[in-house]
């Protein structure tokens, strides 16, 4: 027998790994991905492939040649960033814009801070917001969902439900009511928008999978969605909605359209950029829901989730001062 091996306790491990968590998130996104493919066609596949390849490639290059470290692409976090970035883009986005987005997401959003675990802002959102501001036209021209026949680059484009809702609520324009899609369509994803955002049901399913496998906890998704829903309900009660749009319907439309569902389950819950304690997470979620709704209702952009998440990311170091409940702690 060789020399005995000695190390401090514990001598057992749960078997969990960074890669396992990343792969589970990717798995949870598969339903939404499938629906998007069905709704938006090949553009989805092309955009996703370019995004993932670019993210992984940039991370590998930066790690190996700039930082001179062992590349960590094996932990699959770059793949996930690529996938989530793609989910936030219109499926007809030109390929070179996708690559720029991937570069910003990885190089600036993640590697410049020191790699995985060190970044302050959600990398995919950093990429997306950069693209939104730099290429506003391309980033806000979404193809209509025409199934597999939707072309990649010459897709027929149309307005999104969020734009219509903004017209209705902010502008008080009741005529836009008929531009709103059917609620069922909104739930299953037959609406315009970034391809990852559209199918609410698939996203909820994926989100629940993550909660059940303990990849994420319930605190952030529930507080984001509850706050947004509450805001919508209060909007209705205050009489800001025109005839023909009930409070309940407005609330559900709010939840099912735009990036709220994707944001609540997959973007805001990013480990690195979210708080570490339960109450910290709840406040984080409330902040996101609130800011997103404020931007949606009164802001210049129809969608506020990305900005809301980035703003709350900046508050996370402060939120981390909130400590979890200690054993034996008396309520003062």
């Amino acid at each position: 027998m060789n020399k005995l091996i000695v190390s401090p306790a514990p001598h057992a491990h749960s078997g969990d790994s960074v890669r396992r968590n990343m792969l589970l998130v990717i798995l949870a996104l598969v339903p939404a991905y499938a629906v998007s493919m069905a709704a938006f066609g090949w553009g989805v596949l092309i955009t996703t492939a370019i995004s993932i390849a670019a993210c992984v490639g940039f991370e590998w290059l930066i790690a190996k040649y700039l930082l001179k470290q062992q590349p960590t692409i094996g932990d699959c976090s770059a793949i996930l960033t690529g996938l989530l970035l793609a989910f936030n883009l219109p499926s007809n986005l030109p390929w070179w814009i996708v690559i720029i987005g991937a570069f910003v997401a990885i190089a600036i959003g993640k590697m410049s801070f020191g790699g995985l675990g060190q970044n302050l802002f959600n990398p995919a959102l950093v990429g997306r917001v950069f693209l939104l501001i730099s290429f506003p036209v391309q980033m806000t021209t979404w193809p209509r969902p025409l199934g597999f026949y939707t072309k990649y680059l010459d897709a027929i484009t149309g307005a999104t439900p969020l734009a219509a809702m903004k017209q209705i609520v902010k502008g008080g324009d009741a005529s836009a009511l008929d531009k709103l899609p059917d609620l069922w369509d909104a739930c299953i994803g037959l609406i315009g928008g970034s391809f990852g955002e559209v199918c609410a049901l698939a996203l909820i399913f994926g989100g629940l999978l993550l909660i059940v496998t303990r990849v994420i906890t319930w605190h952030i998704p529930v507080s984001v969605l509850a706050t947004a829903a509450l805001f919508a309900v209060v909007t209705g009660w205050c009489g800001a909605l025109p005839e023909g749009l009930g409070t309940g319907e407005y609330m559900l439309m709010t939840l099912c359209t735009g990036g709220l569902m994707l944001g609540a389950f997959f973007m805001a819950t990013d480990y690195v950029t979210s708080p570490m304690s339960p109450w910290g997470k709840i406040i984080f979620g409330i902040g996101i829901g609130f800011i997103a709704m404020v931007i949606r209702t009164w802001g210049a952009y129809p969608e506020g989730v990305s900005f809301a998440i980035l703003i709350m990311n900046a508050c996370v170091p402060l939120l981390n001062k909130i400590r979890p409940k200690r054993f034996g702690e008396k309520k003062k």
Binding site: K3, I5, V6, S7, P8
Partner: protein, 310 residues
Amino acid sequence: MNIVLIALLVLGATGLTAAVLLFVIAQKFKVEEDPRIDEVTEVLPGANCGGCGFAGCRALAEACVKADSLEGLLCPVGGSETMAKVASILGMESVAAEPMVAVVRCNGTCEARPRTSEFNGSRSCQIMHSCYVGETACPFGCLGCGDCVAACQFDALHMNPETGLPEVDEDKCTSCGKCVKACPRQLIELRKKGPKNRRIVVLCRNKDKGAATRKACLNGCIGCGKCMKECNFEAITVENNLAYIDFNKCRLCRKCEAACPTGAIHAINFPPRKPAEPKEEAPATPKPAEPTVPTTPAPSVEPKKEEANV
């Protein structure tokens, strides 16, 4: 009125108001301080290493200015030179201090001290020490993870991969004492640098009985007391099976080194012994080798062992 003129006037007025406000506040909240503190801080090295026992160079400067004499106040990094400058600024007597250097009191090299287990925890001496005896059978010996090397701010400690022990670069060591605190086994001691940088040290801290020590390490002190008997200056005490040389009494005669049967005593920075005994040709093995005791080759690095390794 011309818009440019308005802009200039407004901005000018704002700037002026701000300047006056800042001046008034600066004067009102000014902290009165002895200007000599700044002067003394200037001549101090600025390393903020804590070697003087104060929290940074400025704190030492304050203490010097407030003190009646410079007795007990010493910047080990700057040494006597710096303290002389401080003394002249403050008009005080400068107090000469012996230069000190860090000495790692273990010579249990990889060859002399066999490994008996494999440690798979975090590579930190502190952690290994609190876990168990270490990768060898000596509970007092160097653990080799380099907590001391990490603690040194002056790049004076480096791990020798062959011996597994840290080596002190005497030119860089400022005797600030950080490594002394970092070692969980208190192996490092600040000792007098000595005339011509020479000193004689027992490179062992093993307090186990001789037989147990010998089993764990061939270079360990077995507490036989031969060194103590040889010393004419009463510089050596043997307590708990371990010899210790008082650096204040040691006269560097090297008799103890010659008497030591295991090679635990090392004379550092001495020239190689003249080949008085014919069997002793190896230029760096200073001790007379008893035929039965295998002299370990590791001490062949010996007189230069703690010297600059740049």
